[in-house]
């Protein structure tokens, strides 16, 4: 084992650190969040130019073929910068899933333009009643003469409004919560019958409700084997969770730095409040939690491309601990900032909110404790 970066990884780490430093200052981010799409075209172009959008794609599609360690480096940096762009949704989840289950034609047609940043793709798997259960699918796809017809609603689709293509889970047979009978479909987001309502999330990133009112797709829109998509879906969501964990580690580190700065500069009773033991112990606890979070995320990285059950257990453990740590670190940071921690003005609050959203995205602690227990 080696926990230090090799030369190429160091270059990647430097690259993303520069991107965050140059392109993601807090006030620019605020303006980007308020723009129509909720993120910056300039940043997206920069991500395309540096090749980061193709990080996880195979070399034949212009990709870098990177592994979990590289995903970790990138997402950790993006966590420090509270990056708003649909990178995780499109480049780390949507595009790799398409590469895994798409036909040769899909891949040749779409992966190069995903790599170049011309288009984006999001996974739409949750529904209004599903909570975090990927098997709870009521959206239906019925076979027609030409292909399939999809009816249903997908909820909290990350950056669904910026996606040119959607990968949608739909039921092709079985009861609403069966593991068997779920299939994946590739849908052009501009097809007739698709309507997308977009909302800013608590953290400023966009999520969408996607309504499918009889969307007709061709036969080749079916991705992977009919009825048997659940394992591919879990593969994609595990990647999403792992990327969220890595992002959270970056968020936590930066939030702790900001809090230490505040403790050193804010004075009450004639001295910096950081000189009070009660506050020192609180931030020491935060540091302990963030180190634990980093360790379990490394463990998840080591298992991300391993056996299915190993991956599932490792990601479940990471997402659970990250959720808890993120919540406590966010709460402590707010408390240590006093009234200032409650304001919209300070970056600290936005890290707290992002950590809160990460906890609630693709499964919270209870969900993953249950999943881990089932795999023990």
């Amino acid at each position: 084992m080696d926990f230090s970066l090799n030369e190429e990884q160091q270059m990647l780490a430097d690259l993303v650190a520069r991107f965050v430093e140059r392109q993601c200052d807090f006030e620019t981010r605020r303006a980007s969040a308020a723009s129509a799409r909720g993120w910056s075209e300039d940043n997206w172009t920069a991500l395309a130019e540096t090749g980061l959008l193709a990080l996880c794609l195979d070399e034949q599609y212009g990709g870098l073929g990177a592994g979990a360690e590289e995903m970790l480096l990138v997402m950790e940096a993006f966590g420090r910068g509270l990056v708003l762009e649909p990178y995780l949704a499109s480049a780390l989840v949507g595009a790799p899933l398409l590469q895994r289950v798409g036909s040769a034609q899909h891949k040749e047609h779409l992966l190069p333009v995903l790599a170049s940043g011309e288009i984006r793709i999001s996974l739409a798997a949750l529904e209004p009643q599903s909570r975090y259960d990927l098997c709870d699918v009521s959206c239906s796809a019925r076979e027609t003469q030409e292909g399939f017809r999809l009816v249903g609603r997908k909820s909290v689709v990350s950056h669904g409004d910026s996606a040119d293509w959607l990968i949608v889970s739909a039921r092709t047979c079985g009861a609403q919560t069966d593991r068997h009978g779920i299939s994946l479909f590739l849908i052009d987001a501009n097809s007739p019958g698709v309507s997308v309502r977009s909302f800013a999330g608590l953290d400023g990133q966009r999520v969408a409700e996607v309504q499918l009112d009889g969307v007709n797709v061709a036969r080749d829109a079916l991705l992977g084997p009919m009825h048997e998509a659940i394992e591919d879906l879990e593969w994609a969501v595990d990647r999403a969770c792992f990327a969220l964990c890595a992002e959270a580690v970056g968020c936590m580190d930066r939030l702790i730095e900001l809090t230490v700065e505040y403790l050193q500069t804010r004075k009450q009773f004639g001295k910096p409040i950081g000189s009070f033991q009660a506050l020192q112990h609180r931030i020491a606890e935060m540091l302990g939690l963030s180190e634990q979070a980093r360790s379990i995320t490394y463990y998840a990285a080591a298992n991300l491309n391993g056996e299915q059950d190993d991956r599932a257990r490792a990601v479940s453990a990471a997402k659970t601990l990250i959720g808890r740590a993120g919540r406590l670190i966010g709460q402590h940071a707010t408390q240590l900032h006093g009234g200032m921690g409650m304001t919209d003005e300070l970056a600290a609050g936005w890290f707290f909110k992002r950590l809160t959203v990460i906890d609630m995205s693709w499964g919270d602690g209870d969900h993953y404790v249950e999943r881990y227990g089932a795999l023990m």
Binding site: L126, P128, Q129, R131, Y132, D133, D136, S155, V156, Q176, T177, R197, F199, A200, G201, L202, D203, V207, E209, K267, Q268, F269, G270, F276, A278, L279, R327, Q331, T334, Q335, G338, G339, G341, M342, T343, D344, E345, G349, F352, K353, T356, V357, M360, S361, W362, D364, D366, V369, E370
Partner: protein, 398 residues
């Protein structure tokens, strides 16, 4: 010892419950129970309903138009009002400046201000904290200099709740600059429409606007708006902070949140079943409920103790800490009910306009901001760290 609620208190509880059920306007109740933001008029409307019944000022002596209730009755009243979804009675006039005026004010000040607090003709706000004076309140620098038959005030206050709605502010100002920092502070009443006052909103984490900065630029205040003696305001400030004890435990909020947690968890689905039936989630609800039971009995012990004038024993600061932790835990679990649907957030939908499109309805839209907003209760009114210092120093003598 007799641990039963007295017959009189039980009868009183039923009377309050029936009154609130009958008189609380449905639109207000709905907004409170669904964690929406209330408008100024909602608070005024409820206060006037209470005042009509003679219940406008639970904590005041009868001589000033108060209900003259015992601490136990006031606790019952709070509990019944909060759990039924009544808005809180704004404390700034009723429980902060009014007791000060009753103890330190001149008869003229009492006659002028108290009736208008009772029917909320005046909306008061609190000018205590400053950018450099939070936990260390007596470090305040906002100054008042004698000028003719009054004072000229210059400086800044911060975290002033509802200053945007207030027409009066009570302020701690520095009138003397020598000696200990607790000396030379005076307590002034200032008309918010005075020239030279500027209120700037502070937007909070949850997208809301309750708190403000208030700036004073050569604001003239007549001398008869000084309360008590000049330079002796610190004693008044401490009296004010120590006065309102029953609400310190936040029991009404705890009970309302618990009720809502169970309702919302019953209405949320996990694997097609109500979330409240999920053992993992239910256990979390149960643990908080057990803590809440103990918290209530701690408050009942405190009430009994204070009613008998016994100072020593359970400390009010302990109740503030525990109450804030329970409330915060409940807001956290309430947010968890919404799961992934707590993420999309439309701030405007909290302001009472039912037509605004939200991803998952007005209730779920409100849960995460409510969780974020409630982080404030372990910060304001003396942070939990300050409360623990008080316990260590004053109670344990360390």
């Amino acid at each position: 010892m007799d641990f039963r609620e007295s017959d009189e208190d039980q009868a009183f509880r039923l009377e309050v419950r029936a009154f609130v059920e009958r008189e609380l306007p449905a639109d207000i109740r709905e907004r409170v129970l669904d964690f929406q933001h209330l408008g100024r008029e909602d608070y005024v409307r409820w206060q006037r309903i209470l005042q009509q019944r003679g219940w406008g000022a639970p904590g005041w002596p009868v001589a000033f138009g108060g209900a003259g209730w015992s601490a136990a009755q006031r606790n019952i009243f709070d509990e019944e009002c909060f759990t039924a979804g009544a808005p809180r009675q704004m404390p700034f006039g009723l429980s902060m400046v009014a007791p000060v005026l009753q103890k330190f004010g001149t008869p003229q000040q009492q006659a002028r201000f108290l009736p208008r607090i009772l029917d909320m003709s005046d909306w008061w706000c609190q000018g205590y904290s400053e950018p450099g004076a939070g936990s260390d309140l007596s470090a305040l620098r906002c100054r008042a200099e004698v000028s003719g038959d009054g004072y000229v005030v210059n400086g800044q206050k911060i975290w002033t709740s509802f200053a945007q709605w207030a027409n009066w502010i009570f302020c701690l100002v520095r009138t003397h600059h020598e000696g200990r920092q607790q000396e030379g502070i005076s307590f002034l009443l200032i008309d918010m429409s005075s020239p030279g006052i500027e209120v700037r909103p502070i937007k909070t984490l949850d997208g809301g606007h309750d708190v403000n900065e208030v700036f004073f630029d050569n604001v003239w205040v007549p001398r008869d708006h000084l309360v008590g003696e000049e330079h002796k305001g610190w004693a008044i400030a401490k009296y004010l902070l120590g006065h309102e004890r029953t609400n310190i435990a936040g029991l009404g909020n705890c009970k309302r949140f618990m009720r809502r947690l169970k309702e919302i968890a019953s209405g949320s689905l996990k694997h097609g079943r109500p979330l409240l039936e999920d053992v993992r989630f239910r256990d979390k609800v149960v643990s908080v409920e057990m803590e809440l039971l103990a918290h209530e009995w701690s408050l009942l012990r405190l009430i009994d103790q204070e009613g008998k004038g016994q100072g020593k024993g359970i400390e009010a600061s302990l109740l503030k800490i525990r109450g804030s932790e329970i409330q915060q835990r409940l807001t956290e679990l309430i947010m968890e009910c919404a799961g992934p649907y707590a993420v999309p957030f439309v701030p405007q939908a909290l302001e009472g306009d039912a037509d605004i499109d939200t991803a998952n309805g007005r209730l779920l839209n409100a849960l995460a901001p409510h969780y974020l907003d409630w982080r404030k209760i372990s910060i304001y009114g003396g942070s939990n760290e300050v409360q623990k210092n008080i316990i260590a120093k004053l109670t344990l003598g360390l």
